[in-house]
Symmetry: C2
C-alpha cells in the first residue's frame, strides 16, 4: 500500500469532520526529551474519602449533602460556568459602527451538572466492568432526554426509549429554558486540570451552539448535501472497517479507532457504525456496546504506559434544539484527547507552533492504533495484585 | 458604559480575526483550586552552562559546534519537524472514492531554524533591554527576507531596507525551494514544553500555509473586500486606542493589549498601529518600538506573579509567497499565549469543555489588561538584588 510512505515523510492530513489540518512529522519522536516530566499519579487512594465532595453521604462546597447513591449521582455544579438566570445584556450599538463589527458579544445562559460515575472514590472508568459503565450511559441519556426540545424529532424516540428506573440518583430539576446544546465530558487526571480523583464527569448545557459542535455540524451538513444524503461519519466508519489500519477495538455497534486526522498522540474516536443521531437512538444492545467500547479504550490507555492515563473525553451528538437538517446530519461519536506521548511522565505539548500555526503530531495514527490494539486484556493493576 | 455588565454575566465574544468564539465566565474565578500545581521555576542558572547545546562555543546534538556569538545565532534545527528533501508522496486515488474524500493528505517540506536570543544562558526576554532585543528583530527580519518570494511585492521593500551588518551570526544557507509561510515563535518555560532555558526561539518554514495564519488571512481578506479596502487589525487598533479599556502598553508604532476575544487569562497581542504587512515594512524606529513593546510585555508578565512567566509567543505577518491580495491584507502582529491564571503555580487548563466544545476563560480581558498595566516598572528580580 503506497500510503506506508506516510510513516517516513512530513505531511498534513485533512480533518473533514471539522474542516482543518494537522501536520504529521513521524521522524520527530527520535529527538531526546529533556523537558518537563509529569508526576506519575499515585494509585493508593481509599475507597471512601471523608474530605471528598463527591463521595456518597458527604457535604459539598455550598452545603448540600450527597445522598448515599449506589451507582451514579447527578447534581448542579456548585461553580457553574453558565447559569440559568443572569442580568440581561443589550449591546450598545448594532449599527455597523467599528464597535459593532469588532467588539461583538452575546449573552449565554445554561446549566452545568456534575455526574459521579461510581460511589467508590478510588475507581476510574478503566477499573469498571461494562455492566458498571451502563448506568453512566443511562444517566447521560436521561439528562439529554430531560433537556431535549419537545419540537425535536428526537423527543418522540426519547419518550419511547424504555429507561426503566435503574436505581440512579437523578436529582436534576427540569430546566427553566430551552437550551441549544448539551456537552457531556470528562476530564481525567491532574494533567487535565481535574481537581478531584473521584470518578466523575461534567455536563455543560448552553443557549449557544459551541464552536466545536458547530464546526462539525457545518461539515456534516455540507457532506450530506453534496453526497445525496450520506453521512460523513457513517461513511468514514464503513471505510475504516474495510481498511483495518486504524481500528483499536470493534463490536456490533461501534468502532474505536485512531482517526486519520488525530491531533493527540493516542487520540481515539468511538463512532457508531450505524447512523445514530444521539444517545436516545440507542437500545439496550447499543448502550451495552458503548459501555464495552469505553471500558476497552480506557483499560488499554492505562495498560499502554502502566499508569492512570489522563485524558479529556466527550460526546458529540445532535443539538437539543435545532433544524431538522442539523439533527438528521448529526452522528453520535465520542472523542478521547489524551496528552501522553512517550510514557507515564512525558506528554505532548501543543504549544508554540501548534498554537500559532497548526497542530503537529509526532507518531502516525496507524502506529498509535497498533500500540493500543496490543494493550488489550486485563488491566495491568489487577495483574499486579 | 453599559458593557461593564460583561464583568458579571456569562457571555461569548466573537474573534473577527479567526472567525471563532470564546465563552467568558467572569464569576468562575471564585471556585477554589485543589488541582495540579505547576513547579515555580528556579532562578539560579549560571550565565554559561557547559552542557547547554545553545551556549556559545558548545557542541550540539548532531556534532556541530556553536560559534562564540555575541548577540544572536541562527542554525538549522537538529530535530526539524519538516525537511527540505524527502520521498515524494502520490496519493493513491484522486477519483472521488470514499478514500479520496475522507483520507486526504499532502506532503509538506520546509526548513526549521533555532535562534538564540542572547549568549547568556540565564537571561530571558524580560531581562533584556530594548537595545538588546533589537538584534533579535534584525535576525527575524533577515531570516524572513532570505526566504521571501522574489515575486512578492515585499521583496523590493526588503532589499531597500538597510540591514547593515550587525555582528549577528547569520549562518543560514539560502533555501532550496520557495516556501509559502514562515512561523516565527518562542516557547518559554517548562510548562510550555520548552526543554532548554537558554533564551531562544524557533522558525518553522513550510510549503503549506498553516491553519492559524490561513484562518486569519481569510478573515482579513474578507474584511478588506467588505470594508472598501480597510484593514481589520488597523481598524481594531484605532478602536482600542480610542476606547482605552484593554491597552497594556503603547508607543509610537504599537499597541500591546488584551484582545476583546482573548482565550488565555493574560493573553496579549502586540499590533502595529499603522498598516504594516510584515517585518520588512518597519524602519529603525519601528524595530526599536517593537523591541520596546516586547520588553514591556515580558517584564510585566514576570512582575505579575513574581516568577519566570511561561508563554508561547509568535509573529503573524504576510506569507512568504502569496497573491497580491493576501499580502496586502496581512497586518503584522505578535500573539502571546501564557497559561498562568492565579499565581506562579496555578494555570488555566484548556481541557474538556474547551477541547470538545469551546474555549472558556474566567477573568475578562479588561480585568487582565488592568492588572498588567499596573505591573510596569522595574523587573521584580532586579529590585530584589
Ligand atoms: O521543538 P521543541 O522545543 O523540542 O518542542 C516544543 O515545541 C514544539 C513546537 O511548538 C512542539 O511541537 C513540541 O511539542 C514542544 O515540546
Ligand atoms: O470544572 P473543573 O473540573 O473545576 O475545571 C476543569 O474543567 C473545566 C472544563 O473543561 C475547565 O474550564 C477548567 O480549566 C479545568 O480546570
Amino acid at each position: 500500500m503506497p500510503e506506508s510512505i506516510l510513516d517516513d515523510i512530513s505531511h498534513r492530513r485533512y480533518n473533514p469532520l471539522r474542516g482543518s489540518w494537522v501536520l504529521v512529522s513521524p521522524h520527530r519522536t527520535k529527538r531526546p526529551w529533556q523537558g518537563q516530566q509529569e508526576r506519575a499519579s499515585k494509585t493508593t487512594l481509599p475507597a471512601y474519602d471523608p474530605s471528598c465532595y463527591l463521595c456518597p453521604g458527604n457535604k459539598r462546597a455550598q452545603g448540600d449533602t450527597n445522598p448515599k447513591y449506589e451507582k451514579t449521582f447527578v447534581f448542579v455544579n456548585d461553580y457553574s460556568a453558565v447559569k440559568e438566570e443572569q442580568a440581561e445584556y443589550n449591546p450598545e450599538n448594532k449599527d455597523g459602527s467599528l464597535s459593532s463589527r469588532l467588539l461583538h458579544a452575546e449573552s449565554v445562559t445554561g446549566k452545568c451538572y456534575v455526574i459521579t460515575f461510581d460511589p467508590s472514590h478510588n475507581l476510574t472508568l478503566a477499573d469498571l466492568t461494562t455492566a458498571q459503565i451502563v448506568p453512566i450511559i443511562h444517566t447521560w441519556t436521561m439528562l439529554y432526554t430531560a433537556h431535549l426540545s419537545p419540537k425535536s424529532p428526537l423527543a418522540r424516540v426519547a419518550s419511547a426509549t424504555t429507561l426503566a428506573p435503574h436505581g440512579l440518583a437523578d436529582s436534576f430539576a427540569t430546566p427553566t429554558a430551552q437550551y441549544r446544546y448539551m456537552q457531556i465530558f470528562e476530564n481525567k487526571g491532574a494533567a487535565m486540570g481535574c481537581s478531584n480523583p473521584h470518578p466523575h464527569g461534567q455536563v455543560w448545557t448552553t443557549t449557544s451552539l459551541p464552536e466545536e459542535p458547530f464546526l462539525e455540524l457545518e461539515q456534516l451538513q455540507k457532506y450530506r448535501r453534496e453526497q445525496g444524503g450520506a453521512n460523513l461519519l457513517e461513511d468514514y466508519a464503513t471505510l475504516e472497517a474495510s481498511k483495518q489500519e486504524r481500528i483499536v477495538f470493534e463490536n456490533g455497534s461501534f468502532l474505536a479507532l485512531c482517526p486519520w486526522w488525530a491531533i493527540w498522540p493516542f487520540e481515539v474516536m468511538i463512532v457508531s457504525k450505524q447512523h445514530k443521531r444521539a444517545l436516545v437512538d440507542f437500545d439496550d444492545k447499543g448502550r451495552d456496546d458503548l459501555a464495552e467500547a469505553i471500558a476497552e479504550i480506557t483499560r488499554r490507555y492505562d495498560n499502554l504506559f502502566e499508569t492512570h492515563f489522563p485524558y479529556s473525553m466527550g460526546l458529540h451528538q445532535a443539538p437539543l434544539d435545532g433544524t431538522k437538517e442539523e439533527i438528521e446530519a448529526s452522528h453520535f461519536h465520542v472523542h478521547f484527547y489524551p496528552p501522553l506521548l512517550r510514557g507515564a511522565t512525558v506528554r505532548k505539548f501543543l504549544v508554540g507552533y501548534e498554537m500559532l500555526a497548526e497542530p503537529q503530531r509526532d507518531i502516525t495514527p496507524e502506529q498509535a492504533a497498533a500500540r493500543l490494539r496490543n494493550c488489550g486484556g486485563e488491566l495491568y493493576r489487577r495483574k499486579l495484585n
